[in-house]
């Protein structure tokens, strides 16, 4: 008795969502869609959108085709509805009223319902679970982009405030050579060089600090001090020291990444427990043997923690540092100049590139971590 009560959800989310879809469709039917007083039936594409959403919502409520065919149909309907909304919104930019927003809400609820239905298929097989685990965040991202697009075009948000994703996309695909040059300058040169030198030298310093204990008392506070330096103070100095080109940005990245790596590696090297060290002692293992066979493997979760933190810090550092003087190329340079020219879509294109590159960078480090520290309790499956 009690177990069935516990295992049941407090309310039936999919049913609630389907009701919401139906309600919003009804609102869309009776309220004006666009200014001044255009009804949904005057816009054929939106009429189609309304009808298919209504069918999808009612079908789910009636319990008809609650199987994979119904779910696939729901996904298709949602996609088509979103596309119809986007397509018409650009023809009536800034004119949207209650009815349009109701349909937007209905499409959004339909996509949520679709995700809820997808989650049900998870338990079927390992492969299905893996695919769905990838699909759900992707759908989430797409939903956000669609809503962004609809809100910006429908409400007529000025481009300088927030350009629509479609505009950003057009700008992005239209300026590939510039974006690539910026990416090369900032990411492939400054970020990667700074990241590898910063993390590498911090790692070696950590081992030195470990080997020569009195250095710990001297070096760690200095490292702490350097990491506390504000980047906007350091960047101009680095430009004066290393010139306008990428080495000065790499230097900023080194400063930013050094300390997290140093501290994490030092505490990682102390992570092995007494019995594991005693074991090495009984083998008369040398310092370096103990380091490589016990203490470094044990430190890997800590080290990867720092590598992950630094992968995002490095990108931020390099972009911000470019605000303080660069040759006429680089992501930070582009952002600061295009903002001045009110070319906000270019700024957003750079932001999109930076977000993508940062996520990929982080993802690669996280994958490496998974491969190296597979044994750690947090990674075991």
């Amino acid at each position: 008795m009690s177990t069935t009560i516990v295992s049941r959800r407090r309310f039936d989310m999919p049913a609630l969502l389907a009701w919401f879809v139906v309600t919003m469709v009804v609102v869309g039917l009776f309220m004006p869609i666009f200014k001044p007083d255009i009804g949904v039936m005057e816009v054929p594409k939106l009429a189609v959108c309304l009808v298919i959403l209504a069918i999808a919502g009612v079908r789910y409520e009636l319990g008809f085709m609650r199987n994979w065919i119904g779910d696939v149909a729901l996904g298709l309907v949602t996609a088509v509805a979103a596309w119809l909304l986007i397509d018409t919104a650009s023809d009536y930019a800034g004119e949207a009223t209650i009815g349009f927003w109701a349909l937007t809400a209905a499409a959004w609820a339909a996509s949520w319902l679709f995700v809820e239905r997808l989650a049900i298929w998870k338990s079927r097989s390992q492969a299905a679970t893996r695919i769905i685990n990838l699909v759900i965040p992707a759908l989430f991202g797409i939903t956000i982009l669609v809503i962004w697009q609809l809100v910006v075009t429908g409400a007529g948000v000025p481009k300088v405030l927030l350009p629509a994703p479609s505009e950003i996309w057009v700008r992005l695909t239209g300026s590939v050579p510039i974006l690539w040059a910026d990416f090369q300058q900032t990411f492939l040169k400054a970020v990667l060089a700074g990241y590898f030198i910063g993390c590498g030298s911090a790692f070696l310093t950590a081992i030195l600090v470990d080997r020569v204990p009195f250095l710990r008392r001297g070096l760690l506070p200095i490292g702490n001090l350097v990491s506390a330096l504000p980047i906007i103070g350091v960047a101009p100095i680095m430009v004066m020291w290393f010139g306008f080109d990428w080495p000065s940005k790499a230097a900023v990245v080194i400063i930013m990444t050094f300390f997290p790596m140093l501290v994490n590696t030092v505490s990682g090297l102390a992570a092995s427990d007494a019995m594991q060290r005693d074991l090495m002692r009984t083998y008369a293992s040398s310092y370096w043997q103990t380091l490589f066979k016990l203490r470094l493997p044990m430190a890997m979760p800590f080290i990867f923690n720092a590598l992950k933190i630094n992968s995002t810090l490095a990108l931020i550092g390099a972009i911000v540092a470019e605000f303080f003087g660069t040759p006429i190329v680089g992501m930070g340079f582009r952002i600061s100049t295009e903002v001045g020219r009110m070319n906000v879509d270019m700024v957003w294109a750079e932001i999109a590139i930076a977000a993508l590159a940062g996520s990929l960078f982080y993802g690669i480090v996280a994958l490496l971590e998974r491969a190296v520290t597979f044994w750690h309790p947090s990674m075991r499956r």
Binding site: Y283, K293, F374, W375, P377
Partner: protein, 279 residues
């Protein structure tokens, strides 16, 4: 290898000169006090113990009486605060650096990033043995502890008892002349324990190893040992040393014989007396 061989030569010279020819461990008036925040803990006090080559010595006593500490002193994992100790005629530190012993810890202490086979290979790698020697010893010792087929598993995929057996295989793979074992079979069930007791005894009889063995089990101590050391706590000291006159060549049936029971009784009496000391 050559370092090891020359260490053995010097040890033989030392042995020839000393009073008893095959003394492996010589503990004289040894005490150890831990300085803790709550004041000193007298873990060991006035220990006198001689262990000869080929002895199988068991430490038995209530929890906290210093069995592990004494074993750790022999292994140079702990420094005595008074008295003297030699291992193979030299200081414990030198003996450790000569890789004179294999140590089985109370917990398995396997490295989770190494497979079972690679865990057993760990000391062999450190000693710089060749790959084929390593393979041979891994195979032999995994068979000995009945773990064949688990070479590629990771420690966390094994039960506690299997992990403990892997750690025994790891210590045996070093093929030391002196084996220090801290409750190695504590985590195992009775049948596996019996089996490993027999295996250990055979190994000992065959190779003339010296074994120092910590246990809480009276039958295990009596079955395995030529010498049983009964310790009692606060401060940790030796209450009784019982030389067993059971034949070296024994099997599990010996546990029913009157001679066996007589020794077991004496051990039990010693343990009782040690306990009642506290009250």
């Amino acid at each position: 290898m050559t370092a090891l061989a020359s260490a053995k030569d010097t040890e033989m010279v030392v042995n020839k000169n000393s009073a008893s020819p095959n003394r492996v461990i010589d503990i004289d008036n040894l005490s150890l006090t831990f300085e803790t925040n709550d004041g000193p803990v007298h873990a060991l006090s006035d220990i006198d113990l001689k262990i000869d080559e080929g002895d199988f010595v068991s430490f038995i006593g209530p929890s906290g009486c210093g069995k592990t500490t004494l074993l750790r002193v022999i292994a140079d994992l702990e420094r005595p605060t008074a008295g003297s100790i030699t291992v193979n005629g030299v200081s414990p530190e030198e003996a450790r650096l000569n890789r004179a012993y294999g140590y089985v810890f109370q917990a398995a202490a396997l490295y989770p990033w190494r497979t079972i086979a690679r865990n057993i290979a760990l000391p062999l790698e450190i000693m710089g043995l060749g790959k084929d020697v390593q393979q041979h010893r891994i195979k032999k010792n995994m068979e000995l502890v009945n773990l064949s087929g688990f070479e590629k598993k990771y420690p966390w995929q094994l039960s506690g008892g299997m992990q403990q057996r892997a750690s025994i295989a790891r210590a045996l793979a070093v093929e030391p002349d002196l084996l220090l074992m801290d409750e190695p079979f504590g985590a195992l069930d009775e049948i596996v324990r019996d089996h490993l007791n027999e295996q250990l005894l055979q190994l000992w009889a065959k190779t003339n190893k010296t074994v120092v063995f910590v246990t809480h089990s009276i039958p295990e101590a009596v079955f395995l040992s030529t010498k049983i050391v009964v310790l009692c706590p606060r401060p940790g000291r030796i209450y009784d040393i019982i030389d067993s006159d059971l034949p070296r060549d024994r099997n599990l049936d010996i546990r029913e014989t009157p001679e066996f029971l007589k020794i077991a009784h004496r051990v039990r009496d010693g343990l009782r007396a040690g306990h009642s000391y506290e009250d």
